[in-house]
């Protein structure tokens, strides 16, 4: 059985928590004691109706304020597929949390309130989904019950969104009219919207083709990449010469006998053996955690990147990247940070902010010299050591990087690497 990770995004009142609650409830993924707990909690509220949103707000301060503050993860499965729901907050001040949640997802559900159509939040969340290279977007047009289940309202919003999508790097968009509150088209087909002939949300989630982890067919787009995490050297009498490079294949395929290059040194060798827990394999694919053995003695340690020699990544000390700034301290030209890509870390300084991106109008604003929390921008960085990467829009696994504040140690920025500057 395969696994789909998806994120739900939407404004505070678009009904995101209700949608997740409905998805879990109607797919019978809520257990009796959990349901009782939210029934008890609902009763202490005004209307006494079961509030499915209570299922997802796990923190005291979230329940107090009735909003989602941080990303939460939920799990459910149907006979067809397993799902990880990344439940991201909708508030603008939590844009960084949406970026956090979206980074590993293959699909994003963008909720739109049928009464309001495409709103600021829709634009912002779609931009983030696009920047983070999420292949599939579901536009969930919710609260159809409040617009009389009108087909015209639905069609108008689809047209509005299609206009917006043209400006973004999103390709596969699916539109579903629904009422999460009443359960229309979430798991069960709506009887009140017979004009809609597409799939329900769950049907779509169960059948959408997940291709970003498939390697065999699209090898050109997914070249072999293996960041070295740890060197296994037992140094015992019987395993005196054993030296295995432990890591996870973040992209592509590696086979026994493949010619490889070690970066940043540029030394070459071939793969002598591939192991998982001492079991020998002829080939290994993304996202397997394996141990590689090389035919020759090469100096390799954590932070190095082993690549298949046929398609090499970019290696450079000046890089351009899209940045989501995640800290309350300002990001400024001239500042220094630690940059982590794969398992490698190096110091970097900020050369320039090429432009800031207006997250509502998608306009590029030039002449900006500092960024605030939740700002998005294209930046130029100079690194102390060359970094090896692929452009993020081609390869999420090797094009994503983070910035770390050297004094607070906090992760302060998400980078989608674009290329050599």
């Amino acid at each position: 059985m395969d696994l789909l990770r998806f994120i739900t995004a939407g404004s505070v009142d678009d009904g995101k928590s209700t949608l997740i609650g409905r998805l879990l409830y109607d797919s019978k993924s809520i257990l009796a004691d959990q349901l009782e707990a939210i029934e008890r909690a609902s009763k202490s509220r005004d209307d006494g109706e079961i509030d499915l949103a209570l299922l997802t707000d796990g923190l005291r301060s979230e329940r107090e304020q009735g909003i989602t503050i941080d990303v939460a993860y939920r799990y459910f499965q149907t006979p067809k597929r397993k799902f990880i729901i990344v439940d991201a907050p909708g508030h603008i001040q939590y844009t960084r949390n949406m970026v956090t949640g979206a980074s590993n997802c293959q699909l994003a559900i963008v909720l739109v309130d049928a009464r309001h159509g495409v709103a600021e939040q829709t634009r912002r969340h779609s931009l983030i989904a696009s920047l983070l290279g999420i292949p599939h977007i579901v536009v969930a047009i919710n609260k159809m019950d409040l617009v009389g289940y009108s087909q015209n309202v639905f069609s108008d919003i689809c047209i509005q969104y299609a206009e917006l999508a043209k400006k973004l790097n999103v390709h596969q968009v699916t539109y579903i009219p629904m009422s999460a509150l009443n359960g229309d088209n979430v798991v069960d087909r709506s009887e009140t919207m017979p004009w809609y002939e597409g799939q329900t949300l769950l049907e779509h989630l169960e059948t959408v083709v997940i291709d970003d982890d498939v390697n065999g067919e699209t090898e050109d787009h997914h070249p072999g990449r293996f960041p070295v995490q740890y060197v296994i050297r037992p140094q015992t009498a019987e395993l005196h010469d054993y030296r295995g490079y432990a890591g996870k294949i973040t992209s592509g395929i590696f086979r026994k006998g493949d010619a490889i290059t070690v970066l940043p040194s540029g030394e070459t060798s071939t793969i002598d053996a591939i192991e998982i827990a001492e079991t020998q394999l002829d080939e290994a694919v993304t996202p397997m955690s394996v141990v590689l053995h090389l035919a020759t003695d090469v100096d390799i340690s954590r932070g190095d990147l082993i690549v298949r020699s046929d398609i090499q990544p970019i290696s450079s000390q000046t890089v351009e990247a899209m940045l989501c700034w995640m800290d309350t301290k300002e990001f400024k030209v001239g500042n220094k940070y630690v940059l982590q890509v794969g398992t490698s870390r190096t110091r970097c300084s900020v050369r320039a902010i090429a432009y800031q991106l207006n997250i509502n109008t998608y306009e590029e604003i030039e002449g900006v010299d500092s960024l605030k929390l939740n700002d998005l921008a294209k930046v130029v960085l100079r690194t102390a050591q060359p970094i090896s990467f692929d452009p993020y829009q081609k390869n999420r696994a090797t094009g994503g990087a983070i910035l770390i504040d050297e004094t607070s140690n906090v992760t302060v920025g998400a980078l989608m690497l674009v290329g050599e500057a």
Binding site: D2, L3, L31, A32, D33, A37, A41, L55, G58, L59, R60, S61, R63, I69, D70, V71, A72, Y73, R74, Y75, K82, I84, N97, T100, S103, D213, V214, N215, G216, Q229, Y230, R233, P234, L239, Y242, A246, G247, K248, T250, I253, I276, A277, E278, V285, P287, M288, S289, V338, G342, T343, R396, A397, G400, A401, I402, I404, N409, V410, T411, A414
Partner: protein
């Protein structure tokens, strides 16, 4: 070639463990003898063999453990030849003159945190790998894989580091530590399916057996070792039961069951309408934020 979801979860967990090995000076693997931490040990074997583990196994013993789990713990450490450190809540209570909870349903579970924090200080552990899963509880659903804790072990949900792609940031200041949860994304059923697939041996109390119990507040509590003192209105019974989680005796309830094989246990879990913690853990039901509050205090 496309990986099955269990392979994906396994690979992710191994990757996380190797990040711990690569990023920290003095990590530890917290091991209780329960199925989740047994799974962690199995994953560590896959991550580091034929090398040695880059961390010891550490057990914080409340003194109220099932003997079967303790025997299993000692046998396992011996069989795999890895170092086991045990620290006792009993010692902390004596040395620090802690007040033990008393009365009906008193549990030492909360006191574990004191021993854990002392142990972290004693060995200067900078990372502790634990078997917590996000599906267990709603506060845990919010926790990152790398959870940075201050010198008091405290979790602040509003100050969590963004965690992007598969890049984990374990940089900390001296005195802080990181709790690392490699099986965050596993569900209870995933753990059981993995145990079956990998043929991992478990302590016998996970399988149906006859046992003397007392019925308290509708829950079946073990009388083993005299941890729970029967009161006048408690009914003593002998039932065929198994344990769904193996925690402290004082707060872990048994389930009536005929399932004496892995297949039968998995069938039961698939059919149940009650969550793992809802069925067995008394301590989570004290308030709506019981787990969140304990974690802020330094608990796992």
């Amino acid at each position: 070639m496309k990986l099955d979801y269990l392979d994906q979860l396994e690979s992710e967990a191994i990757h996380i463990m190797r990040e711990v090995a690569g990023q920290f000076e003095r990590p530890a693997l917290l091991f209780s003898g329960g199925k989740d931490s047994i799974t962690l040990v199995h994953l560590a074997l896959k991550a580091f063999r034929p090398g040695k583990f880059p961390f010891p196994l550490v057990h914080i013993d409340t003194g109220h453990n099932f003997q079967e789990a303790l025997d299993y713990r000692d046998n396992l450490a011996e069989r795999i030849g890895e170092k086991l450190i045990v620290r006792y809540v009993e010692d902390t209570i004596r040395e620090k003159k802690l007040k033990e909870p008393t009365g009906r349903n008193a549990t030492r579970n909360g006191l574990q945190t004191f021993t854990l924090l002392d142990t972290i200080e004693e060995f200067e552990f900078d990372a502790c790998i634990g078997g917590a899963r996000r599906d267990e509880e709603k506060a845990r659903a919010k926790e990152r894989v790398f959870s940075v804790r201050d010198e008091f072990g405290s979790w602040d949900p509003k100050r969590q580091r963004p965690e992007l792609w598969n890049l984990y940031n374990g940089r900390i200041h001296k005195g802080e530590n990181v709790r690392v949860f490699p099986i965050s994304n596993w569900t209870e059923l995933d753990v059981w399916n993995y145990i079956r697939r990998e043929k991992i041996e478990l302590p016998s109390i996970y399988f149906a057996h006859e046992r003397e119990l007392l019925i308290r507040d509708g829950k079946l509590m073990a009388t083993a070792g005299g941890v729970i003192k029967p009161e006048a209105d408690d009914q003593l019974v002998t039932r065929r039961v198994r344990f769904r989680t193996v925690g402290d005796i004082s707060c872990t309830a048994a389930s009536e069951s005929q399932a004496d094989t892995l297949d039968a246990v998995i069938d039961e879990i698939q059919a149940t309408r009650i969550s793992e913690r809802g069925e067995t853990r008394m301590d989570d039901q004290l308030s709506e934020a019981a787990m969140e509050d304990r974690k802020k205090g330094g608990y796992f």
